[in-house]
């Protein structure tokens, strides 16, 4: 969750994770995507691809545009996609593209919760 302090405008991120553990799959996960950009000026068209790494398939895509009038700024983005699908255990990543250029990615791992009772 991204919490914004009104007085200072500072963001605080709560509950950062890189792993999702579930008893069963497929699941849909609520999440907020937060990222910061520097060294931008002018108009940009952004795309975020949500990708299942094993199949290299896009499961979800978001497109948006923004103007950046000042270069001496760092710009933060909070994106709230609808439910993010996790069809099976494995690796998933968000890839950020700006004006068609690849900027970066962040990955998380989905795991199945082990059954209780220990080894057979």
């Amino acid at each position: 969750m991204a919490i914004r302090e009104e007085g200072t405008g500072k963001d605080t991120l709560v509950g950062i994770f890189d792993r999702v553990i579930s008893k069963e799959f497929p699941i849909d996960q609520n999440m907020t995507i937060y990222f910061r950009l520097a060294n931008v000026i002018g108009h940009y068209e952004f795309r975020i691809d949500y990708v299942q790494v094993r199949t290299d398939k896009i499961l979800f895509q978001a497109r948006f545009e923004r103007d950046f009038p000042e270069i001496f700024c760092e710009y933060s983005f909070r994106l709230r996609p609808p439910m993010v699908p996790i069809p099976e255990p494995g690796q998933y990543e968000f890839r950020l593209w700006a004006n068609g250029h690849y900027v970066g990615r962040r990955r998380f791992i989905a795991e199945k919760m082990p059954k209780k009772g220990g080894l057979l």
Partner: protein
């Protein structure tokens, strides 16, 4: 300009209300600064937050990694790319190879974007190595070093 990613995080959340406050430092937007103040601002940097809500939409599943695309960063905080670099992705058995033809450099990984990260790190290492050895380079590496300086800028 080519944007660089300062940080990207994702946090579990409730699908609650829409954020509606677009600018964090809007009181500074119309202010004129002296050169000294500009320098101070460039060092401290203001911060602006954009809240974005994504509407659900139908989407046809497609291949995520194009065979050719351009990268805009080198994953080295000391270096900036002045222009995008073209990358070509190839696959050999279970290994993905990211190739930068301009510098004849390669990155390897178990998946496409991991190979791109390896390539980005390789190019940054190449820059620093050639910079250190620039007085002892042969003609071919001098050509590469000159090209690197056209593309990469130190902060």
């Amino acid at each position: 300009m080519i944007p660089e990613l300062g940080g990207i995080k994702f946090t579990p959340d409730r699908p609650a209300c829409t954020f509606s406050i677009p600018f964090a430092n809007s009181d500074l937007r119309d202010t004129k600064f002296t050169p000294g103040q500009e320098k101070f601002l460039s060092e401290t940097k203001k911060s602006i937050t954009f809240p974005i809500d994504i509407e659900p939409e139908s989407f046809e599943i497609q291949q995520a990694t194009p065979q050719r695309f351009t990268i805009s960063t080198l994953l080295d905080d000391r270096l900036l790319l002045q222009m995008p670099l073209e990358v070509e992705i190839e696959r050999e058995n279970e290994t993905y190879i990211a190739k930068c033809g301009v510098f004849e450099e390669f990155g390897y990984g178990d998946d496409p974007m991991t190979s791109v990260i390896d390539l980005q790190q390789t190019l940054a290492e190449l820059y620093w190595t050639l910079k250190e050895e620039q007085n002892r380079l042969g003609p071919y590496l001098i050509k590469i070093w000159n090209r690197l300086q056209e593309v990469i800028l130190e902060r």
